[in-house]
Amino acid sequence: MLGDGARDARRTELYLDSLVQADDRRALDVPVDTGLDPAVRLAAQRLRSDLVRVHPSFRFEEALAARLSLGAARLRAGLPVEPAEAPAHVPATIAFLRLPTSTAPDVDASAAVQFRNPLLSARPPRPLLFGGVGVASAAISIGAVYVAWRWSHPSPTPMGRAARAAHGSRVTHPAGRSRRTAVLQGILGVVS
């Protein structure tokens, strides 16, 4: 035995089903259930017309398809879908950032800096704003890595090796050496 609430709920459900069926038939008339609360009926019709399905952008669809394809290839190779050491997602939101409209920069999203991590290249590019400190820090890090690499990889050409040998045999002022070392340590973030 159904209570009043359950009976009303069942009646509402049947009405919603009839709305869906009317749409499937492309019927122009909206079904009417005189026993149903008119306010509920109106709300159902309103939600039926207003809550539309949304499709993501084509760019996102294809980027995610590419990621899934890579994941499928990894699965076929007996590996997990995503590598365990994958870097965290670049957040699409900035916590607590609420710039007043008057001071917000006039930024065109399409012209904003695009961050492209090769490991995440399949993800859709998103405009991100970087602070000056972040950009400078990244540039210094890349430069330091390059200097360290060059330091440990002598040039393959005879001229390069000769230049390096001549440079190494030069008498250097101790203060100069320590200053250069300090600068390098500063770049690399080494604390002595």
Partner: protein, 216 residues
Amino acid sequence: MLSKTEEGARLARLDRDRGLVEAARRDPAQFDALYRKYLAQVYSFAYYELRDHHAAEDATERVFMKALAGLPRFEERAGDFTMAPAFGRSGSSTPQAPDADASTFRIWLFRIARNVVANEHRHDRRRPAAPLEEALGLSAPDDIAEAAVAREAGSAAWEAVARLPEDRRRAVILRFVDEMSTAEIAGVLGRSEGAVRVLIHRALRSVAADLRGRLS
């Protein structure tokens, strides 16, 4: 008690995605067909829940990556739902012929989506964040759907739905946006069909009262 063969036959009848799922299990590259079929539905669910374009994209990505990774375990996890006594579009509790439109894969996929969205809500509560577009007053210039939905966001109906309690809102989105039957929603939310019916009925009453209040 159903034998394995009978159970398999029942599942084959119940699940309209059975062929696609089996193909994807044999060759994960075939998962693409399932992805294309359900992308808009999952994205819409995430978008209406999270109300942010980028958050919805991230959630959608997580859902499909999890689904791809978990596909070998799909049948076992969906087993309890496939044994539900009724699976008709009308969601009646009386036994019915299986619905040709039913998909246990869709139920399973939306269970993943529900968990991903719930995690996102928990994360938001811990660390309130403002979308970049909101902070800078920008909107994605190349996304017409986004702009259309943004206009819809201003509608009274959507605002009324957004004010609903979480379980009612979720049931309404699954019913109206993803056009799920009561039985499918029950499978996604882990509730009985009767409970889902009452959730939707009460949600409609709340929306009706909200709309009436605005008009007056």
